[in-house]
Symmetry: C2
Subunit: 348 residues, 2 copies
């Protein structure tokens, strides 16, 4: 019975099956499916119809072996568990699948040294190119493979990044206009390029109108223990009216730490974040934050990567895989200020 059921499963249909059924050559079928070859529209239509009827699904393995390209892109993140990962992965997957590419994920399990290994694994798996989102401050070893980088300010090669500096400028200007003159910026890692850009932008927008103090959470926790209070309450009681976090994670900590002590947000203290993480609307008050345009970033990265890949396949000589640094370029995508309830005018 099981055997019968299994025999019902039609064996996989391939090009030759269709060619045979129609009495044409495999080449004709191939050309009809890809639309590439010089083939009459009539025959092509007939072939496509038949292929459809027979439930033809091209074999990626066959194609990959012949063309030397797998149609798969590797997405490398230092730490998949990062809360931004969902947004990044979704945007990249959408952009890639629009272009007919699949996304293979690689994780270095939070271990910076493992990043190189994760990259090799992906290349060995046949990824045509890599999209890398490096961890704060990490340098990626030069790779002999098409690569696009996200948020890696000073790396050669195709890099696309949110305009973190301008994001800092935007939120800084916003706070200035609200009348805040005494501001604490809350950052995570002091060696993060992204956070330093954001901070730089904020300072440049605020320097002549406000006092700005910076707290680095990571450094504080190293001293005081993980999860320690950030000491925002006394600050709020002594004139600080705004807490601008460089990531929503720290903004969350600020909001709850203040509220817990009975300090009203935004009545007595404004709190803002960065990234518009998914839960930012699930807190009360909802978080004012800067949102990256991930769709745009993903589109640019994927487009740049695919361009490299397809150029390489037409390169002279028997040399698969280019060097990835032929045309360095960095593209910055504007961020958007999302105003919600956690921010308001400075109290008098």
């Amino acid at each position: 019975m099981q055997r019968e059921a299994m025999n019902k499963v039609q064996a996989r249909v391939n090009l030759s099956d269709i060619a045979r059924a129609l009495g044409v050559s495999a080449a004709a079928v191939s050309n009809a499916m890809s639309g590439k070859g010089r083939i009459s529209e009539d025959l092509a239509a007939t072939i496509r119809k038949k292929a459809d009827e027979m439930g033809y699904v091209p074999s990626v393995a066959g194609r990959a072996l012949r063309t030397g390209r797998s149609g798969v892109l590797g997405l490398v993140l230092a730490d998949i568990a990062h809360p931004l990962f969902p947004q990044i992965a979704q945007a990249i997957e959408n952009a890639a699948s629009d272009k007919g590419y699949g996304i293979l994920i690689g994780d270095s399990r939070g271990d910076i040294n493992a990043q190189t290994k994760a990259i090799s694994r992906l290349i060995e798996r046949g990824a045509d190119g890599l999209i890398i989102v490096p961890r704060h401050g990490t340098r990626i070893a030069h790779i002999n493979h098409p690569v696009a980088m996200i948020d890696a300010p000073s790396t050669p090669g195709n890099t696309v990044s949110a305009d973190h500096w301008d994001g800092g400028v935007q939120i800084g200007s916003y706070l200035r206009k609200l009348g805040h003159r005494n501001i604490i910026v809350i950052g995570g890692y002091q060696d993060s390029n992204v956070q330093n850009d954001r901070l730089g932008g904020m300072k440049s927008a605020l320097s002549d109108s406000a006092r700005v103090e910076v707290i680095w959470v990571e450094a504080l926790e190293t001293q005081m223990g993980s999860g320690c209070p950030l000491g925002l309450v006394p600050k709020a009681q002594h004139g600080v009216t705004a807490f601008a976090a460089l990531s929503d994670l720290h903004a969350l900590r600020a909001v709850t730490e203040l509220q817990r002590a009975g300090i009203d947000v935004p009545g007595r203290a404004t709190v803002t974040g960065f990234d518009d993480l998914i839960w930012s609307i699930n807190i009360s008050p909802a978080l004012t934050t800067m949102r990256m345009n991930m769709e745009e970033i993903a589109n640019i990265a994927v487009r740049a990567l695919i361009t490299q890949i397809e150029q390489n396949s037409h390169a002279e000589g028997p040399v698969p895989g280019g060097t990835g640094d032929e045309e360095p370029s960095t593209k910055r995508v504007p961020m958007e200020l999302v105003i919600r309830d956690s921010s308001g005018p400075a109290p008098p």
Copy 2:
């Protein structure tokens, strides 16, 4: 100059290159690398050494074409943007790469109907099997391909799931022991199997000792608008001492809503969540919650899937790909209560 640089890139080394260099057959090399064939340990060692020297990397495309298997598993989520995705993806990726498999991601962009499409795309891309995390209440159409499901309580086939019911029992017992007799449960989607399991467990642990009321956020928001207050404050003022959310997202909302109104957590109200999302320790007070053992769940799912895949490849007849429902089984993995500061004894 560029030409010179490119000529330095060694053309890809393949099996025959090694065979030629050593004067042995390609078969010998293949056997030496895989450790499968009957080949003398001496020759095998020589071959492996040479392969290493020459920088041999096996071609996945060649192998896939020949064996009919790609070494890639598809991970399908209804919505990649879900905050649990990082944990799931990381655990699955780790489990798979330990077994030598890669993970291809599929996203139905939040659209339930697109789930079937995402699945087909992954299969067409050559995924040997699929790991599916269905959306609340979704039924997956029967697929003629190896599949493992996560958190799909009543689906036939290999299913692994956190023991949500027991998780509910655990948190319910915990609240009972703390002396809470008037409890509000906050859920998201009323049609979520996962949430209903959790709720059922809680009720069963509490029913004879506490009054339990349930608020479904989704339903509330449909009426009152998204982001509306959940009305927890008046409840807290009228005798409710504990708010048990069925997901951390709602627990976050509860904590902030209560604190914002000056109700101390956990002094006047206990709040608990589910899932131990990454930011749960970034709120003040840190969130008491139930944690799934994602590593274990991922390991079981991946193992079950790979077993199916490798069985099928030895199946009788020219039938690649089995039916995926030969040996139904559901495995439940215990959850773990993580006690942090947001919970405490019921106030007198």
